[in-house]
């Protein structure tokens, strides 16, 4: 329990800090924290596939961006009210993810990577060529936020609340029986198949769910920047999203947020000294893969485990499993 209490205190401190951000710093840093949370959502959704399903996607910026485009188009070109545009944006991402999943989940490993890369490229191609809707390379501008959250600090709290809700949903998903089945599939697909699990369906639902989460991030991003262009859905953005996941630690979920923070802060800090960001990003890639494969959070966790207990961490999920399931049951019954 001490470790859990420790985590709880940590979470509370983090939350207090997050709430205080607009009071203690300038608009620039508030915007940075917003960016970290938005890309943290993207990185966590990638982690659900990469860390929990064992399927590494390289086209998730495309799915993320579809929601941005839908929301951007509806806000700037139509009179559809906001309470429709936002769900429609998320729905679009979810549906496209479902469509992509039907093709991609038939493959695995490096094929999955290439198929998702191609899918991401198709989104980019549509964004680039369908000028009458997407505005081609100039994108869609003037995506206004609702009046009551037009100030950056007001919008910050919107992003914070959504971020917490989405992070909690993802946490619940990966620790649910469904999430544990995904992990089982990652470890041994044939074993799970023999045990009677519908592996294909699980992968399909897992992929589609990440589309939903990425879509929420995409909606937040469209309103954060006020515009959307093909550069948001290009390959480099998908690679960057994956890098965030890996730097934070695949299979750790919240590591994605840490990865996003590291990448975004590094980019802003190094811009003072050098404009060679691609070289630095590439180096982070190489160094992480060679020396810190578990990522930052993964590394800290295993270090923490080694210090606090002698036995390896492996058995723990078994303890979590019934508890998690129980909590879910309680929650659903109390609703």
């Amino acid at each position: 329990m001490t470790s859990q209490r420790f985590k709880l205190v940590g979470l509370l401190v983090l939350l207090a800090f997050a709430i205080g951000v607009p009071q203690i710093t300038t608009s620039f840093y508030v915007n940075l924290v917003m960016e970290i949370m938005i890309f943290g959502i993207l990185a966590m959704s990638i982690d659900i596939l990469a860390g929990y399903c064992g399927l590494t996607p390289l086209g998730h910026a495309g799915i993320f961006g579809i929601a941005s485009y839908v929301v951007g188009y509806l806000i700037t070109k139509t009179t559809v009210p906001l309470y429709f545009t936002v769900p429609l944006g998320i729905l679009a991402s979810t549906l496209v993810a479902a469509l992509f999943a039907t093709i991609a989940i038939r493959t695995s490993g490096v094929y999955f990577l290439m198929v998702t890369l191609a899918e991401g490229m198709i989104v980019w191609g549509v964004a680039y060529r369908w000028a009458s809707v997407t505005g081609a390379e100039n994108g869609i501008r003037g995506i206004a936020r609702p009046e009551m959250v037009s100030q950056y600090w007001q919008y910050y709290y919107v992003v914070l609340v959504v971020f917490i809700i989405i992070a909690a949903m993802m946490y619940r998903l990966v620790n649910s029986p469904f999430g544990l089945t995904l992990k089982g599939i990652r470890e041994s697909e044939s074993r799970m198949r023999t045990l009677g699990y519908n592996v294909t369906l699980h992968k399909f639902i897992g992929f589609t769910a990440t589309g939903f989460f990425a879509g929420v991030g995409g909606v937040l991003y469209a309103m954060y920047n006020g515009f959307i262009s093909p550069s948001t859905v290009e390959f480099a953005k998908s690679a960057e999203g994956l890098l965030m996941t890996i730097v934070g630690g695949t299979g750790t979920l919240f590591g994605g947020v840490i990865g996003a923070a590291v990448i975004i802060l590094t980019r802003n800090i190094v811009s003072l000294y050098t404009s060679r960001w691609p070289i630095i990003m590439g180096t982070i890639f190489v160094v992480t893969i060679l020396f810190a494969r578990k990522g930052l959070l993964g590394g800290v966790r295993s270090l923490f485990d080694r210090m606090t207990q002698t036995q390896p961490r492996k058995p723990q999920p078994k303890e979590v499993k019934p508890e998690a399931a129980e909590t879910i049951n309680k929650r659903t019954s109390s609703q």
């Binding site: 590494t56 093709i103 994956l242 890996i246 590439g282 180096t283 893969i289």
Partner: protein, 286 residues
């Protein structure tokens, strides 16, 4: 739409296909044996082109540039294979991610070294101008590109089908552990294949320089075409690389002429269909 026009487009498609084959053959070879999807291949192409250009400027000889570029990029390939990829051998995903990182670094480094102005490589004197064959007037250099493409295809085919090395590679594609157990130094074969694959990409950079020119971003553009070729043809197959290159080259040229509105989808549409029907491509076995 005259016959000349069709003939002309056909030649354009074949030229582009020949160039794509040079790049994709190395790519597919490396994948077939080592299961490494080398996303540095675009960067190999670009850096190879720049190295070739530098040598051509110094020596004034196109062919010296071509050979030096192939050697330099081949060695760079070995360096990457021995120095970095070795540490993540057998782990497909870390390997790919490593190559993505390296591609970013090499792309940006070549921008620092060679600047960002688009430059084109001067072709050798005797290949400038055009030849008239029947109704068709066509640049000489492009005939040369087709010639080199066919030559390399022939060499690779002979290597693969007729030599002991080829037998080892074919066996390795099917069962790498068996080859290892037979006492063959598989590590050496790995390095050799990576060298050849990278060298081919460097060579392609010089070959493409005179008509596609070199500039930042050319690496990812050509890589994308290369990826489509191997996805359609099937990873790891030489026949796949040949057929895939022809399909992509011809689709691209005829697509631009016949359906200019859809010039982007003439490539990616068929690829998406291929992925849906036959995820491993036309000739993919693995």
């Amino acid at each position: 739409m005259s016959t000349t026009f069709l003939l002309f487009q056909l030649m354009n498609g074949i030229t582009f296909a020949a160039l794509l084959f040079l790049l994709a053959s190395g790519f597919t070879l490396i994948f077939g044996l080592m299961r490494v999807v080398s996303l540095t291949h675009g960067a190999f192409y670009l850096v190879g082109g720049y190295v070739g250009l530098t040598v051509i400027r110094l020596t004034g000889n196109f062919f010296i540039g071509l050979i030096v570029a192939a050697i330099v990029i081949g060695l760079l390939g070995i360096l990457i294979e021995r120095g970095l990829l070795r540490f993540v051998r057998g782990e497909t995903l870390p390997q790919v991610l490593l190559t993505i990182g390296l591609a970013f670094i090499m792309g940006d480094a070549s921008l620092v070294i060679w600047g960002g102005d688009p430059v084109s490589i001067p072709p050798p004197e005797f290949l400038r101008g055009s030849i008239t064959v029947g109704p068709l007037t066509y640049p000489r250099y492009r005939f040369f590109v087709v010639f080199v493409g066919v030559l390399v295809a022939a060499i690779l085919w002979v290597l693969q089908a007729k030599t002991r090395l080829g037998a080892i590679i074919r066996a390795g594609v099917d069962d790498i552990e068996m080859v290892d157990a037979l006492g063959i130094n598989i590590k050496l074969v790995f390095s050799g294949v990576f060298l050849v694959g990278a060298a081919l990409a460097g060579l392609t950079g010089v070959m493409g320089g005179p008509f596609l020119s070199l500039y930042p971003g050319a690496d990812s553009e050509i890589l994308l075409f290369g990826l489509v070729v191997v996805i359609i043809g099937g990873l790891g197959s030489l026949e796949g690389a040949i057929v895939g290159s022809l399909v992509v080259g011809l689709l691209d040229t005829f697509g631009k002429a016949l359906f200019p509105e859809l010039s982007y989808f003439t490539i990616f549409g068929p690829m998406a269909i291929m992925l849906a029907l036959r995820p491993r491509g036309l000739f993919g076995r693995i």
